[in-house]
Every structure is written in structure tokens, then in C-alpha cells.
Amino acid sequence: MLTTRISKIKFGILSPDEIRKMSVTTIVSTEVYDNDGMPIDGGVMDRRMGAIEPGETCPVCGNTRENCPGHFGHLELAKPVFHVAFTKYILMYLKATCSNCGRIKIPESEREEFLKLLRDLEDLKLTHLKRRLHEYIRRKAASTTTCPHCGAPSLDIKLEKPHSFYVKTETGLRKLTPSEVRKHLEKIPDDDVRLLGGDPRDARPEWMVLTVLPVPPKQVRPSVTLETGIRSEDDLTHKLVDIIRVNNRLKEHLESGAPEAIIEEEWELLQYHITTYFDNEVSGIPVARHRSGKVLKGLAQRLKGKEGRFRGDLRGKRVDFSSRTVISPDPNLSINEVGVPEEVAKILTIPERVTPWNIDLLRRLVLNGPDKWPGANYIIRPDGRKISLKYVDRKATAESLEPGFIVERHLLDGDIVLFNRQPSLHRISVMAHVVRVLPYKTFRLNLLVCPPYNADFDGDEMNLHVPQSEEARAEARLLMLVEKHILTPRYGGPIIGGLQDYVSGAYLLTVKSTILTKDKVVKLLASTGYKGPLPEPAILKPREYWTGKQLVSLFLPKDFNYRRVSKIGSASVLRCIDEDCPHDSIVIIRNGILLEGVIDKNSIGREEPENIVHWLIKEYGEDVGRLFMDKVYKMFITMCEMHGFTMSYDHLTVSEDAKKVIYSIIENKKEEVSELLKLYRERRLVARPGKTLEETLEDEIIDTLSKKLLDEVADVLTQYFALTNPVVIMARTGARGNPVNLTQMTGLLGQQTVRGKRLTRGYMGRMLPHFKPGDLGAEARGFIAKGFVDGLGPLELFFHTAAGREGLIDTAVRTSQSGYMQRRLINALQDLKVHYDGSVRTTSEEIVQLLYGEDGVDPAKSDHGKSVNIDRIIEKYVHG
């Protein structure tokens, strides 16, 4: 491959001579087309400015539309006009130089010194110091009040944005015309321009005041012909016509010797049009509009912002071989797979070179053609000709196929594709999947890969891209496949894992009380595709029974050891001390056999470091971990289906006794609150350090009513709920919900808060008109003593929504903020690279970190950020 390195890019300003030299014609007419619709010579659509119509040949270069690059024209301005983008620099030059002699306001001797210094800095390539010197010279020259060369006093020049220069005189402000300014700038010697940071060769200051305007080629501003035959011109063309109209009028006035005031007015108008032609968002002047009122797009608007040329067209591109549709779940797919609709598979193609080994297959595909899957859409012959299979005799074409041909065949099962869901915040927002062509019209994916994409199925759409080269496919398969990303680079733990039903199912399967008959065992194992022999039944008489633990053991490597306290063991009531615990809450796997313990979130859950899958992947490889997920997780949901798992209203109700206990707890707390209020009213409350009395009272009340109360109630409730209650199972295994949720449904919602404070805003001194002003009691400030099972009263519901809204606002604010942060981070870090010596460097090998992350550890392959986990090694070999 040929590579060229751009060593330097230099921007300059076009001089009037250059503008004239590159121009093919001068534009003088405001008329664009004649009566026959042909462009008028000397108009803005002059034929010489480029061929854009089909069949048109360019009179300048002789090319047709495809090859004519377009040619500039030019417009001679009747009077000079400022270029808006340069007013800042014009002001700098005016201030730093003498208006009389045009020289920099620095004494000759010093000037020589500075020039020499500047040359030295240039030789040493100390650009940052050069910039500092220029700034110093500018400031020094601008602050001098008398010219050291001619002795003229300097003028006090002001810039009124966007483009009016004023000079302060005794009588007041006098406006400077562009002609005057240009004359001043012309007088500045080349060396003085250099001292001020300019470049007299490529950017003479007087060129910042326009005398000639380049008219861009027609390719830049194409006109569109609507179906009705009406021509619609580009915004720039409209703007150019305006400029020419005013320019011609100004020229006439000048020739006829019109009064000064009229000329000035037209001149101002010309300045306005040229300014808005360059940038139509300049502050301080009205925006230029179409007759319809639509805002015109200036040249700057084409470049700026998200949809502009840079961000929209150069950094962002649309691609071929991609597809987008709604996603839906399919637990029967492997996590590595993606279900692709047949209709999509018939459009996306892969170029495959014909070889003696695949010629039979490819012949068959060619024969099927573009409309029948699996087929092919095009073939490319060795001479480079591309033939569509839609319009040829496919039988003959298939016969003519020979090694060396390339067939653009349909997507087939087993192909590798990239799958993506926006926002792509992660590297795991784009992963490679293996294709499975399926009926219907959605992309299908395994539920376990939802978390990395953050996908759900409420209408989410995802994109699919087909790598077209052998290299790209190899990279995708080796680096981007889903199984390579089960462990997240954030902390090395598995990001993919069981959720909800998977966890409930795992619990149901492995809990001690579950014993399975032969047909159930067979059904469970069939769902995994298991082909080996059945294990010895755990119970032989009166009938043969198996335990769930035996089934899980079938899929574990024979030398796998594991020990971890399960999620249910973390609840205080059921905490296990040692391995002989009756609650079965310590999971022990020895030599690939699940000896005891129920499998729940801690063993198979997502974002649970050190779970079974984590160690399987680290010790046996990604494919072993993936197979475990594909098979055993499938068995867990099958168990869930077989067992049946629902929750209902009845699962949330408790006995009258329990209710009484809860009510008494709530009453006690309310009592405490009124006690506090009483103390406060009697001024006996002691203020906390740094708080007012009112703040202290609020804090005390919140302490009494919030979390602690809910926890207390939760403790009582757990005693009354059966362990077979599905709600309890879900909360304890970590499948869904937690004890607090349970309390809020059965017991009470508790204190509602906004920004950590009790609800206060609304009416003066009260939140709702249903309370007395100044009522600080529990109920008046959003305490809800009822749960969802009891139902909320109208006021309580209102309080609940007030607190609920806070969460919604938080999410809305967070997403926009983190999106922008993401953009900034990516722009800052995108080119950094870790080199072989472990250092992080930029593209020019500037060092960012001597050792990546200071310790050189890849967090994806680490354990809690450490490169070695000694505990695990001991566990593995000592217990093994």
C-alpha cells in the first residue's frame, strides 16, 4: 500500500490577484436564466463555471458532468468590504500600527531585536514561544500612543461587532470606511506583519478587506429541478444574486455621482449581504431570510456543527452491507448467535472466491439466484465485470463458474456479522455474532446478551453489519465474538449472566426439596441437547429420583472446584456458619460435582464477579464458559417453565397478627415524631452542631421515619412469609426485588422524599390545602403508612408521584450529561495506544503513562484489579 504523510498544512488568504487569476469569468448580471431557461453568460449560473447538467460539456475543461471539477468566477466589488471572519485581526493590525505611516509602533532598535529573536525561534522550531512573543509585541505596540517613526499620535480605534470600526475623536466617534482601513493596512511593511504574527506572503492584512469576491463553481451550489419543472436554486446562489444586485446599484450610484448618504447606504447593504453570505449566524445583525421566511444557509453554516461538513460528512459516513430492524428474544439461540430474517439474508451478501472446494456449493447458490434463499445476487468475473444474477440465464452462468470468479452470495448460517445497538458507549455495544437465518422479520438474540447492549424488547431496533474481507471476518471471530466479551474490561467480572427467570429456575432446580422423576430429568436434559448417559439416581426406592444438583454437575468440568456463600445465605435469618448448614446456603463444587448449596444470583448472576461462569472462563476458556451458559442456563428456564412460577395478590397478604405487629411499630414511630414536635414547640429540642433548630427537627424526623423503619418492618415480615412464597424466593435468590420492595407492597411505603428532604413545596406553609399551614406532622409531609396491598389514599398517591418524579428527572438529566461526557472522552483518548513496553503514547509517541494504569495490568484479565488471586489458587488446589 502506498502511504503518504502530510507534513504540513498551511491556510492563507486569497489575494485579489489570485482570485482573478483562478477565475474563468467575471460575473456582472443579476439575471440567471434567459427566457428559454438557458443560463446567461455573466450570470451566477454561467456555463463556464462548470458542467452539472447531464450531457453538458464544460466550455472550460471540456469534461462532462462526471469529470468537470467546476471553476470559480469572480465579482469585482464597487467598493471594498470587510470579511467578517477577519475583523478581529484587522482590529489588531490597526491598533498595533501607525495610521499615518503604517509602521509598527515599536522603536527601530527594538524592532530589529524582535525580528532577530523571531528568526531564531523559527530556526529552533519553538512555535509555542513564537506565539508568546507575537502576543507580547502586539500588546506593546498597541499600548504605544505616539508613533516612534513619524511622531503621529495614534488613533483610538474601536470595533463594534460585527463589522464597524470607529475612531475616537474630540467630537465623538467617526466611522471608518473599509476603503480607509484597507489603505492603512496596505501601508504596513512586510516585516512588521511578520512581527505581529502574520505572513505577508500568504496573508497580507489588506486582503482581509475584500475588493474581489470569488464566485464558487456550480457544483458547490447545484440547483434542483422539481417534478413540476420549476427550478429551485441553492441558498448560496440566491445570496450571490443579492450581492450582485446591490453591487450593480452601488456602481451606478458612484458613476452618476449620487449623494454621499445614498452611496453609504448601499455600501452598508453590500457589506450586510456579503457578511451573511459567509456566515448567517453573526450576532448583532439580522439573519438573512428567504421570501418564505426560511433562514438562509451561509458558507459557515455548511461547515459548522453536528450536521456540518466536518462532523456530519467527513467524520460520519453511511455504510453499505448493513441492516436494521426490531429485535426480539429467542432463548433457543446460543449467546454467540443472532437470528437474521430470511428477507435480510437475501439482501446482505458476502463475496466468496470460487475454489475447487466450494465450486459445487456456489454453483447451487448461483442457480438459486437473488430471490430464493440460499442464493447469490452477483458474480464478479476475473476481468472485473460484475454480473447481476437477476437478468441472466442462471443455469448457463452457474455452468460457466470457474475458480477465480467471485460470487456475492447470500448470508448463510455460520457467517460472522457485527451486531450493534446505540448508544454505542462501550466496546461491548458492538459484538460479533454467528448468523442463523430464521423466518419472520426481526433480529433474534439470546436474552443473556441483553445486558451488554442494554437492550429490551419494547420496540428496540439494532443494526447489523457484514464484514466483507477475510481479514475483517477473522478479526471479528477472534476478537469481537460475544463469548470473548462475557468478562467485562471494567473489572474482569462477567457482565453476561442470569437474570430473573434464570435465577428463579436455578434455585428451583437446585433446592434440596426438589427431586425429579425420570421423565422430568429427561425433559430437562433434552432442553440442553445433552447426549450422554443418565447419572445414577440419588434415590432408588420406592421410585427412581434424581436431584437438580446432579443435573448441574453433568455440565461441570471434572476437576472444577468452587466454594461460595449463596445469595440466600446473606440474609440474616438464614446465615450459615459452616458447611453442615441446614439452609443449604454454601455452594460447594468438588471435582466437578455440586455437593451442596443452592445455585442463585451469587453463583450464576450477571455482574457477580467470582461466580461459576467467571472461574470457568478464566480456567477453562471462553468456549467452556459459553457452552455452560448455553446449556445449563437453558435448563434453568426449562425448570422454571416445568415448575410454574407466578406471583399474585395472595402472596403479598399477611395474617391479621402480622398486621397488628406492623401497625404497632408504625404507631410507635408516629408517637416518636409527635414527641419530637412537642419538644420543638416547647423549645426543648437541642440543635445539632451547625444546624438550625428547624433543620435538626427535620433530620430527626427523617431518621425516625425512613430506612430504619422499613428495615424494622421488613424483619418482622420475613418471619411471616413462607420460604416457598414466590415473592420471597425472588427476593432472596436475587432474581428480582429486595426485602424493601416486599415491605413497600405488604407493609408501608414509608416517608416520601424529594432531594433527601420531606415534601414541603406547594402552598404557603403546607404542601396541600388539606392540611393546616405550618403542620409539620408525619402525614402532612408525605409519610405513607400504607402499602400497595392496602392501596393508597388520594393524598398519599399524590405524595408518591411527587417523589417518583425525581427519579424520572434524574435519568433524563443523567443521559444527556453522560452522552456529552462520552463524546469528550472519546475525542481525547481515541488515538492513545499501549505500546509493547507497556507505555501509553499518542500518535507522535508522546508519553501519557509510563506503564498502563501505573501497574500495567489489563483489568479485563485481572481479579479485582490484581493480576493474581491467591485465594482462588489455594481454593483450587487445596480443596481439589
Binding site: T127, R131, R132, E845, L850, L851, E854, D855, G856
Partner: protein
């Protein structure tokens, strides 16, 4: 009350990691090891309080030894410059 006129030796503050000027021979060795020119190191301004305190001059290379939560002790180098502006 803290006496504001009293000079504080920032080098003794616990949040200021150890900075030291590297002798030129050693600096050359380090640059050679990293295969870089001095400007490719991260820069530190001559106006930086620590640079003033240890008396480093433009062109010096400073070694910073700090405690790191991940690596225990981490070493970084800084190139002392007159002005830290965007590079061209």
C-alpha cells in the same frame, strides 16, 4: 488560626508526591530507554509551585515518585518548560 504570612513548605505536605531533578547523564539514559526526545514527555510548567520549590530549570527532567492504589509506587517523568500551551 493559621498565620497567613508564615511560609509553608509544600514539599512537606502529604498530598505532594516526591519530585526530584534528574542529573543530565541519567536523563539521557532514560530518554534513550524510552526512545523519545524530551518534548515527548509530559510537560510541567516552570511556574508550577513544586518546580519552583525544588529549583528546576527549563530543560530539566523531573522524576515524580508517588503512591499508587494500583501499583504501590509509580514513577512519572516531567519535562520542565517555560510555557505549557497547546503543541502545534
Amino acid at each position: 488560626m493559621l498565620n497567613m504570612r508564615e511560609k509553608v513548605n509544600i514539599l512537606e505536605h502529604e498530598l505532594v508526591p516526591k519530585h526530584e531533578i534528574i542529573p543530565p547523564e541519567e536523563a539521557l539514559k532514560i530518554l534513550k530507554e524510552l526512545r523519545i526526545e524530551p518534548w515527548q514527555l509530559p510537560w510541567i510548567s516552570i511556574d508550577d509551585p513544586v518546580v519552583k520549590a525544588i529549583g528546576a530549570k527549563p530543560g530539566d527532567i523531573v522524576r515524580i515518585i508517588r503512591k499508587s492504589p494500583t501499583a504501590g509506587i509509580s514513577i512519572a517523568y516531567r519535562y520542565v518548560v517555560v510555557e505549557v500551551t497547546k503543541r502545534t
